[in-house]
């Protein structure tokens, strides 16, 4: 089979190609975005380009909690109003955003940048576990919340970290698992429902 001749100008082909490398964007969406950009005023296109470059140039990783940040330490770590006695351990920086949206947690975070995945060769040394331990030794806290994902790998990560910090005498908790708000009981999957029943609370 020969490659079909492309009648699109090279810059367009290049942009389509770049767009389709992004998550959730297939060739059709990439094309649509590209042709939208072609019609866009030059000024706005420049703003977009600058925003993309700015993300790469100005955003770094907080040296304390490893969240993505513009300043180091990050806004959460340096906010005196936050509860300094609690640290919530999460897998990804996106999880911090999710927890912040709840407005229910006012403590600090620690981002691991992944979960232990033995079969894929991701071990404890590939995550930010050691910095967590030194952080806890330097600034002792009262509670560690292990908010890794509720699946086998997230559980393994939580249990591994628990094993390491148990000697430090810090209270270790894990978020409850249960039914999604607004969902129907009959549509919940068996394992979630099972856990929800196990973790039931006094009314």
């Amino acid at each position: 089979m020969t490659t079909p001749v492309s009648y699109s100008p090279a810059p367009i082909v290049k942009l389509v190609e770049e767009f389709s490398k992004l998550p959730g964007i297939g060739p059709k969406t990439a094309q649509r975005l590209t042709f939208y950009l072609v019609r866009m005023p030059e000024e706005r296109a420049r703003d977009l380009a600058e925003a993309i470059v700015g993300v790469k140039e100005r955003v770094s990783i907080c040296s304390r909690c490893f969240n993505i940040t513009e300043a180091d330490p990050c806004d959460i770590c340096s906010d005196p109003r936050r509860d300094q006695s609690r640290v919530c351990v999460v897998e990804e920086a996106l999880d911090v955003l999710a927890l912040e949206r709840t407005h229910s947690y006012r403590g600090l975070y620690h981002v691991l940048h992944g979960a232990i995945s033995p079969m894929n060769g991701v071990g404890p040394d590939d995550l930010r576990i050691r910095p967590l331990l030194s952080r806890l030794r330097e600034n002792p806290v009262e509670e560690i919340i292990l908010a890794t994902n509720p699946n086998v790998e997230g559980d393994a990560t939580a249990m591994y970290i628990h094993g390491l910090i148990a000697p430090l005498g810090i209270s270790v908790t894990r978020p409850a698992r249960g039914l999604p708000v607004g969902g129907d009981l009959e549509y919940a999957d068996e394992s979630t429902l099972g856990r929800a029943i196990e973790g039931r609370q006094d009314f």
Binding site: G24, V152, D155, A156, G163, S191
Partner: protein
């Protein structure tokens, strides 16, 4: 015309992320061997499928044949071993068992024995008095059912019964060599001490895991047996079993708190 969908029991062996919210799941089934299928949207929290497709879970699932990969349409958990899932060393051993089953499982052909074996080991890993021994037994049995059983009763070259003593295990020839045949063999020889050979034979002769017993084994002997089996398996599957490393660390970490794992 053959049906577009099928239904089977299975064990979730491995998962790989796909795209934004999907996963490719590798499932061991009794009739079709290893099936690789796409589970759509399972990384989103509102998924109905996701909670049923976790690693090491035993499931009843339905899938439709795809051009390349099948697509899972329905899944229900049959057994999810809470005892294993809440204990790090046992969980890490379960993951190791799954990875091993994944490396040995054929794609598209019947594998009832492998299925039954993996299922029984995952089931007994929770209450097992010596999970380490059970895992070594699983290694021995998986070599048996896939046709790579090492010959350790008689010399692999001259078929003479092996006398008690230290031996060499020839990886290429798939068995132990008697003192007279030491210079023969195909290559890749490992030293096997007399005590390690006794453990290996005990594993090979035990046909049911509940007959394994709880022999007292020195740490150094356990390390030796584990090393021999892992080198033999690596030779057979021609790759590293990646979870082995983490399994060792998890067992060591828990060693202080849990006497069963004190080694």
């Amino acid at each position: 015309m053959r049906s577009r969908t099928y239904r089977s029991r299975g064990i979730v062996l491995r998962q790989y992320p796909l795209g934004e919210a999907d996963r490719i799941v590798s499932i061991l089934t009794p009739e079709m061997g290893k099936v690789r299928a796409v589970a759509k949207g399972v990384r989103r929290p509102r998924t109905r499928l996701g909670g049923n497709l976790d690693l090491t879970s035993v499931i009843d699932f339905a899938a439709s044949f795809g051009r390349n990969l099948d697509v899972i349409t329905e899944a229900r958990t049959l057994g999810q071993n809470i005892e294993v899932r809440s204990d790090l060393p046992r969980l890490s051993l379960a993951l190791y068992v799954c990875e091993l089953a994944d490396s040995f499982a054929p794609e598209g052909s019947r594998s009832r024995e492998l299925f039954r074996l993996t299922l029984s080991v995952l089931d007994t890993l929770g209450p097992a008095p010596d999970p380490w021994l059970l895992t070594r037994w699983f290694e021995t049995r998986i070599l048996d059912v896939s046709g790579f059983r090492p010959q350790i009763e008689d010399c692999v070259e001259c078929a003479e019964a092996l006398k008690p003593g230290d031996h060499l295990l020839d990886l290429g020839a798939g068995g132990a060599l008697c003192p007279n045949c030491r210079s023969l063999g195909v290559g890749g020889k490992i030293f096997v001490s007399e005590s390690a050979m006794r453990v290996l034979r005990h594993l090979q002769r035990t046909s049911r895991s509940d007959e394994l017993g709880t022999p007292t084994l020195r740490d150094s002997l356990r390390d030796e047996v584990e090393g021999i089996l892992s080198r033999y398996i690596r030779f057979v599957v021609e790759r590293d079993i990646k979870s082995a490393d983490f399994t060792r660390r998890a067992v060591r970490l828990e060693g202080d708190a849990n006497p069963q794992f004190r080694r």
